[in-house]
């Protein structure tokens, strides 16, 4: 498996030009809309819009892969719901008495409800794939470092290490392919190969640990709390009196202030898109334009309002991608 496919890659697009926090909020808004809505039409519109957004970001192929996986996951969901649900009234097949499970009556309502749940799961998988491919995890996790520096750093490291270990395993497998005879033949051979992969991962982990040690990971909490105390208790610029900041060393903890990153047109557009999506999902649910009931009989709102809601959802998702100025950063 090529693990690189599922990790952040920098390709020029409006979504990648936004700050990671806004990108994450936008993805959360998509998730919330997928959870709030039950009517299949707005859900399908949302799924289509997410696929189009993926194409705009340049990860359409990866999203298509996720879609295939989602179908494999979705079919059992429908099947299980049909077999387990007893709430529908329109029976299309009778399996007879199933003992402790009661009468095996399969209903149309159970099929429809299972399909809606599968559609929601598909949407969540698509949104997760899109977010992991298009939102910079480092930038996102940096925001959490104020709360817990080491936890956020460890999470960043994990996101980086998974593809590295995947590449290591791929290299090892390729090396075994160049042997004239298959070394993994038999149980003993497979155990040896597995042991080599685990051993290689541990060696890699040791090397990375050495690098982290040299970059000050072990002193991170202590140093940051020291600089935090300075900001709380000391006057501005008192950093020059800190131990370690002797003459000749640059004042790195003084009153200099980092100028924040300005809000770009894309930050604003995706934030507006997120708010609009949430509003539309809530309005659809509350107004009845997206009402849907599966049991005891399927009742689904389909009128001009429903189609207008679908169009508005698709527009809210895709409009931020229309402005392609300044997207390569």
């Amino acid at each position: 498996m090529n693990t690189r496919l599922l990790f952040y890659r920098r390709l020029a697009s409006p979504l990648r030009a936004t700050r990671a926090g806004v990108g994450a909020i936008w993805a959360l808004a998509l998730t919330a809309a997928a959870l709030i809505l039950y009517n299949p039409l707005p859900l399908a519109a949302l799924a289509l819009a997410v696929l189009c957004a993926g194409a705009c970001v340049g990860v359409g192929r990866q999203l298509a892969g996720t879609l295939r996986t989602a179908l494999i996951v979705g079919l059992p969901i429908v099947a299980i719901n049909v077999l387990a649900s007893r709430e529908g009234l329109t029976v299309f097949a009778r399996l007879g008495n199933l003992g402790p499970f009661g009468e095996g009556d399969l209903t149309v309502e159970a099929v429809v409800y299972g399909a809606v749940i599968a559609l929601k799961v598909t949407l969540l998988m698509l949104i997760t794939t899109l977010a992991s491919l298009a939102v910079d995890p480092d930038e996102l996790l940096r925001g959490f470092r104020r709360l817990s520096f080491r936890s956020a750093l460890t999470a960043s490291l994990a996101t980086r290490m998974i593809p590295v270990l995947g590449a290591d395993a791929g290299r090892l497998a390729e090396a075994q392919r160049t042997r004239p005879e298959d070394p993994a033949r038999g149980v003993r051979g497979r155990v040896a190969l597995l042991s080599a992969i685990v051993g290689g991962s541990l060696e890699r982990a040791m090397e990375v640990a050495a690098t982290l040690e040299l970059r000050g990971f072990a002193v991170a909490a202590e140093e940051r709390s020291r600089s935090g105390r300075l900001r709380l208790w000391g006057p501005r610029g008192s950093g020059t009196r800190l131990p370690g900041l002797r003459a000749g060393r640059p004042n790195t903890r003084g009153s200099a202030r980092r100028v924040g990153r300005p809000w770009s047109r894309h930050d604003l557009a995706f934030l507006c898109s997120a708010l609009a999506l949430l509003a539309l999902a809530l309005a659809g649910r509350l107004s009845g334009a997206a009402s849907f009931e599966a049991y005891p009989l399927v009742k689904m709102q389909i009128d001009a309002g429903t189609f207008a809601l679908c169009a508005a959802i698709a527009a809210a998702v895709l409009l931020p991608f229309a402005d392609r100025r300044g997207i390569d950063r």
Partner: protein, 570 residues
């Protein structure tokens, strides 16, 4: 002083012999110090001791004191010492721990509690200083090998350390990127008085930049002095540490040994041993463009490494004469218009035509990312061309870059048949654990694994392909490998080696192929292709201006001892 070792002796856990044995020296601020020594003689351990990884990270028994910028490494761990010393190891992949370049450069500063403004400034400055500002928003896993090494260096320098410790940082880089990195270190040293401690096997690449050379042998300091005194010492005590230029002068009976090409040429010119104006155009040029070629066995007398100029010219003429007869000679491997195009990505190979005859040895050269490894994978059948075809007359054995990837068993005997072990000289190590072998021995074991025994699956390989087999090898181990490859070629096996090392290429190959951007841009006799360039040329060739196609010190010394030959070719 900035770095002081005082009678340091160190044993790794469970090791009987010390990795460092009574090592003492002092480095002043602003010195550029080169660490020399054969593989396994303590260079890496010394660097680890300087930054506190020894003993804090590795454990073991430690005696003596190491002080870095006034901090005793017994009292301060690597996390504290890392603020004073930037460290760059051999493999950039293990030193990049964040997903984006900007986050990577910022990590050390953020960990040490620098303010947001200081972090932003530090990242910006180091990116500008190293010329990686265009990479700041790139993902680290998208970078090429050279870019990764620069980013790792940037991460080490972001805190403006007083000392930079580097362990073979150029071993995975092509000659161009390697020279750029050394130039960069020299600039850091000269402009900001950064102390540099650099461990390196290819001394000819960096000796000219160094102020001082410390040589280690079995964990002890065997020599400590300036580059000139080091070369004089190496000629007498450790010839494997001699640079090709120094060896050339020693063989030609010239003194003093030159520290670099410029000095060597000045000495030769002063003695009227070089023509006043080098006319490279007078020498036969390599064929340009994708030119498949074949070598008649009559020209492949591999034992004639140090043959005279006439023989070299004759060989080159013979090789060129068969360039046009591509279909008349049987081939071991033939690639016809091979393309490798990535889906949604670039073309890695673009219409490569290449033919190898039995007994032929080829050096495949080019920048990082030129397509060398991909070409070898196609040769071995690990990849299928998107266009074109590959014809193999038999099995193609491919040795990939990292020999450790092949070793999965606990006994050497389980890894390869005894016949193959004997062929690489490891018959006596059959019961040892592969993990306990030295770097050179691992490489030989990996070679035995991929070649297998003659009676094994697929039989003996007709082609042996090697991808960067000399990474991290010292000169002695490289010479051994080159000798083995020449022997295999003599026995009729076709050998193709992707390498960044022109000296190794000259020692093991008769023919050189230069790849760029997935295309063969030059293909010809090694005596021509490796003789007339700046980067893809041996030091001997650069000193002699490519005269007579002399690539190795032995060949150059022969020319220098017969000055008439130089006049003729000029």
């Amino acid at each position: 002083m900035i770095l002081c070792f005082d009678h340091v002796t160190y044993h790794y856990p469970d090791a009987e012999t010390p990795a460092l044995d009574d090592v003492s020296f002092e480095l002043e601020a602003g010195e550029f110090c080169l660490l020399a020594g054969l593989s396994g003689h303590g260079k890496t351990t010394l660097l680890h001791a300087a930054c506190g990884l020894v003993p804090h990270f590795h454990g073991g028994t430690f005696a003596g004191t190491v002080s870095l910028a006034g901090l005793d490494t017994r009292e301060h761990g690597p996390a504290h010492l890392g603020g004073r010393a930037g460290v760059l190891f051999q493999d950039p992949e293990t030193q990049l721990v964040m997903s984006s370049v900007r986050a990577e450069l910022a990590l050390g500063l953020e960990s040490r509690g620098h303010s947001a403004a200081a972090v932003a400034r530090g990242v910006e400055e180091v990116a500008l200083a190293l010329g990686i500002d265009a990479l700041l928003d790139r993902s680290t896993h998208e970078l090429s090998g050279g870019e990764k090494q620069r980013v790792a260096l940037g991460a080490a320098l972001a805190g403006r350390p007083k000392v930079v410790l580097l362990d073979e940082p150029t071993s995975q880089l092509d000659p161009v990127a390697g020279d750029e990195l050394i130039g960069l270190l020299r600039r850091l040293n000269e402009e900001w008085e950064t102390t540099i401690v650099l461990a390196e096997h290819r001394l000819e690449r960096c000796l000219g930049a160094a102020d001082r050379v410390i040589s280690l042998e079995a964990g002890r300091v065997s020599h400590d002095g300036d580059p000139k005194s080091f070369l004089k010492w190496a000629a007498q005590h450790e010839p494997d540490l001699q640079t090709p230029g120094a060896k050339l002068f020693a063989l030609a009976g010239l003194n003093p040994a030159p520290v670099g090409v410029k000095q060597a040429r000045a000495t030769l010119r002063a003695r009227e041993m070089l023509p006043e104006e080098d006319d490279l155009g007078a020498y036969p040029a390599a064929r340009v463009g994708p030119t498949p070629s074949d070598v008649p066995n009559a020209l492949s007398s591999a034992s004639e490494v140090a043959a005279g100029q006439d023989r070299r010219s004759e060989r080159a003429r013979g090789l060129r004469s068969v360039l046009g007869r591509r279909d008349s000679i049987p081939s071991a491997l033939r690639m016809k218009g091979v393309w490798h195009e990535l889906r949604d990505g670039p073309a890695i190979l673009r219409g490569v035509d290449l033919t190898l005859a039995p007994g032929e040895s080829i050096a495949l050269m080019g920048r990082n990312g030129a397509g060398k490894s991909t070409l070898l994978r196609h040769a071995a059948g690990l990849m299928e061309p998107t266009r074109g075809r590959v014809e193999r007359a038999g099995r193609v054995a491919l040795l990939l870059q990292n020999p450790g990837d092949y070793l999965i068993h606990e006994r050497v005997a389980e890894e390869a048949p005894s016949e193959a072990l004997a062929a690489v000289g490891l018959a006596g190590m059959a019961e040892r654990n592969p993990k306990d072998l030295s770097g050179g021995e691992r490489q030989r074991l990996a070679l035995a694994i991929v070649t297998g025994g003659a009676g094994g699956a697929g039989g003996a390989p007709i082609v042996l392909a090697l991808d960067e087999p000399t990474r991290g090898m010292d000169r002695g181990a490289k010479a051994e490998l080159a000798k083995d490859l020449r022997r295999r070629a003599e026995q009729g096996q076709a050998v193709i080696v992707a390498t960044h090392d022109p000296e190794f290429a000259a020692a093991c190959a008769r023919r050189a192929v230069l790849l760029a951007d997935g295309r063969v841009i030059a293909d010809g006799p090694a005596t021509e292709l490796l003789a007339g360039g700046w980067y893809f040329a041996t030091e001997t060739a650069r000193i002699l201006g490519g005269a007579g196609g002399a690539l190795l010190p032995e060949e150059g010394a022969e020319l220098l001892q017969a000055p008439a030959a130089l006049e003729v070719v000029a």
